[in-house]
Symmetry: C2
Subunit: 441 residues, 2 copies
């Protein structure tokens, strides 16, 4: 970083891909003159140390408000909320989607973490809640929360994504909705808890056990089968989310965390783990999440959430205020491991520039990517495409539609999951006025 370079203007930075994408190293502070900054007419002559307070604003002239026990967002941020699918609390499932177009960084605030609950949010007394581990074990055991609090804990960051996230992307016409409506069923938190392997050691697993059943304490007793290998590898009984106890909709007082696996398997309100020697063929694994494919094929046990990315800024719901510099950013993640590379296009995929990845890049976690962009005021199509450390790449849209099929008509209710596990590209079309539409490109 040098203060000698401040004369360097944005125009001197060479584009690295079509429609104004700049080298990502522009992010490292080369002194790029922004079009968006206004010229000031104040204080230009002051060179001394004395302060001349600017007392124009009402909040600068009167005592401010009291300090609360827990601080909440500003009243000016009331629009930053989840979108709900079941406003009348009818006896069915209820979705709440993360507003990706209104937040930034990599952590999803716990208040805004997506949730899907199938029989409401249980009001669980943590002193009475128990976790049972039984089945094909040497010694079945019951654990209270107080018991688990004494065990060795681990802290890690992980995304959780619903297998049905981005399902509206399978519609034949691009839905004109935000990234929240399209992709709001994925979120990213720092989780702290006890590794399931520690508890499996405690109960002594029969070598013939090949799966475990995880069951929640909500009134639908949601349960899923998980291969035993995942239990030994990296499954966690998560007790804390972003520092605090897991929130009610997210599984309070404990949930199963299966990094990179379909959200529905990360059983909330976890009350039971049963070691078994075959999958239970429960409702959610035998029906809902058995994906029907073209040609009368079906995917059984497609657990992994594959490599994916989408641009959050700018995106549908935003608009560009005239030509000039913009910071393109979004999130990338892969159930397989770390994100290795994200490419960004401003011309609908004709040319690509490598985005800067915001480190540290944690496995099975959001990586925020950023790409500097100089918009010339002409139509553009923004896209991102991610690779993970195992070499997996987001498929092109034509590829995933060929493999998975497409809805025959626009999906007007984003809760109707026609297809699942969409991990292809999202395209934002920008017109000459800076208005943004969702397009297929």
């Amino acid at each position: 970083m040098s203060k000698d370079k401040h004369q360097k203007t944005l125009d001197s930075l060479p584009p690295v891909a079509g429609n104004g994408l700049l080298d990502r190293r522009a992010l490292l502070g080369q002194g790029i003159l922004m079009a968006g900054a206004a010229v000031a007419g104040v204080g230009a002559s002051a060179t001394g140390a004395a302060a001349e307070p600017l007392k124009d604003d009402p909040w600068s002239t009167t005592m401010g408000g009291p300090t609360p026990l827990r601080q909440q967002p500003s009243k000016f941020e009331k629009h930053v909320v989840r979108v709900l699918s079941n406003l009348k609390h009818e006896p069915r499932n209820s979705h709440a989607r993360t507003p990706h177009h209104l937040i930034n960084g990599s952590i999803t605030p716990s208040a805004l973490h997506f949730t899907i609950n199938h029989s409401g949010i249980p009001d669980i007394d943590p002193a009475k809640h128990r976790l049972v581990i039984h089945g094909m074990v040497r010694q079945p055991k019951i654990f209270s929360l107080e018991d688990l609090d004494r065990y060795p804990m681990v802290t890690r960051t992980a995304f959780i994504e619903c297998g049905g996230n981005s399902a509206p992307m399978f519609s034949s016409e691009p839905m004109q909705v935000t990234a929240q409506a399209l992709h709001g069923l994925v979120s990213n938190s720092e989780w702290t808890g006890v590794m399931l392997s520690t508890l499996l050691d405690e109960v002594g697993v029969d070598p013939k056990a090949s799966w475990f059943l995880a069951e929640g304490g909500d009134s639908c007793a949601l349960h899923r089968s998980v291969p035993i290998k995942k239990g030994w590898d990296d499954a966690m009984i998560a007790l804390y989310q972003n520092g605090e106890r897991v929130r009610p909709g997210t599984g309070y007082p404990m949930r199963l965390l299966l990094p990179g696996y379909q959200g529905n398997m990360n059983v909330k309100f976890l009350r039971r783990i049963k070691l078994i020697d075959q999958p239970a063929m429960s409702f959610y694994e035998a029906k809902t999440y058995s994906q029907v494919l073209p040609g009368e094929r079906l995917w059984k046990f497609h657990f992994l959430q594959e490599v994916k990315s989408f641009i959050t800024h700018p995106s549908f719901g935003h608009s560009l205020k005239g030509p000039g510099y913009y910071d393109i950013s979004g999130v990338a993640y892969s159930g397989t491991g770390r994100i290795a590379r994200v490419m960004v296009s401003a011309d609908g995929g004709k040319s690509w520039a490598e985005a800067a990845l915001q480190g540290p890049t944690n496995p099975q976690a959001f990586t925020r990517f950023r790409a500097p962009w100089r918009w010339d005021g002409k139509p553009a199509i923004l896209q991102s495409r991610a690779w993970d450390e195992a070499g997996n790449v987001q498929p092109l849209r034509a590829e995933i539609i060929a493999n998975r099929g497409q809805s025959s008509q626009p999906v007007t209710n984003p809760n109707v999951f026609i297809n699942q596990h969409y991990n292809s590209i999202t395209s934002w079309g920008i017109d000459g006025k800076g208005e943004i539409k969702h397009v297929y490109a």
Copy 2:
């Protein structure tokens, strides 16, 4: 991780330091039999895949509650709040301390981030707020929040610590209070914003400028002087905290982030940066934060928050429920850079075991450390001591008291800061009943 090792019991793990401290690799899942787990009498014979739901709990038999726009903590977590110093909102400063003994992981939830405000919390309209950069610059400029949103952003994790954090540790008798009361003026967040260097490039800094003055938009117009080098190195105009817009008490809509520097310098509600050629000698740098030392000496401009750690679990306010295994954990951080090593003692510093560090270890950020411990039911004194990557180490208590002095009497009001920048060791004394006291050792 091997399922063959589950027979291994806790007793077979060799201690690595006095009073039952175990090798930190025990955390990696060697199959340690815990004393705290109850033996269950259910389901031991089941080997099949069928589910037998346990429908004992009321929340498992009825539809749960509705999904909110923003999810809040469970009603059973109402005690997890900040401790406030100015309940009547009198016209003076107001502290809110982070409950370190009740949270876990590395991120401090934004609702629980510590705050100190000197003239209340201003209710700032982000559309009207402006940041002015002027003084010794080529071209002074005014930035709206909308302007800043277009600039290249960076996401990083950083702690912020008040220079007066842990001041009660200078009292001549150990205060019987929680880690929250002792050390609650430090917190750790993921911050996203625009590097100050980017904006300094924009305005063109006069080479003769050696400091900058940062001023807040609250009614005390809190302002501090910062060496210009920090501005070029890693100062950030933080716009987002843990994914969301910075919360009101934490500086909404924008604050200065000076990683590793005294909290008070991280000016909130930032409205002005003035490039100057000498420090402004403002109230907080000339009076409050000029530390008086023994022998009529004084520290001027002691900005760095030095390497430090404290144990949060177990600590004052907890109690041990009988002998057996416990997971000791706490936080370590250094204004200089990354944490390199944390040692833990269970015998008041006679012997030490190396703690496991929860990665990734980010610079100028909390690192959660953990040490496995088998308590034999006899008196013990728990301590932690941290080293940073530059080789700095937490001083022993005798050293810091010799260098900084001590209060002549117990500090009954933890808001009276007699000394500052305490970064020595905290000791938790455990008696034979498992009760925990704050001790000096």
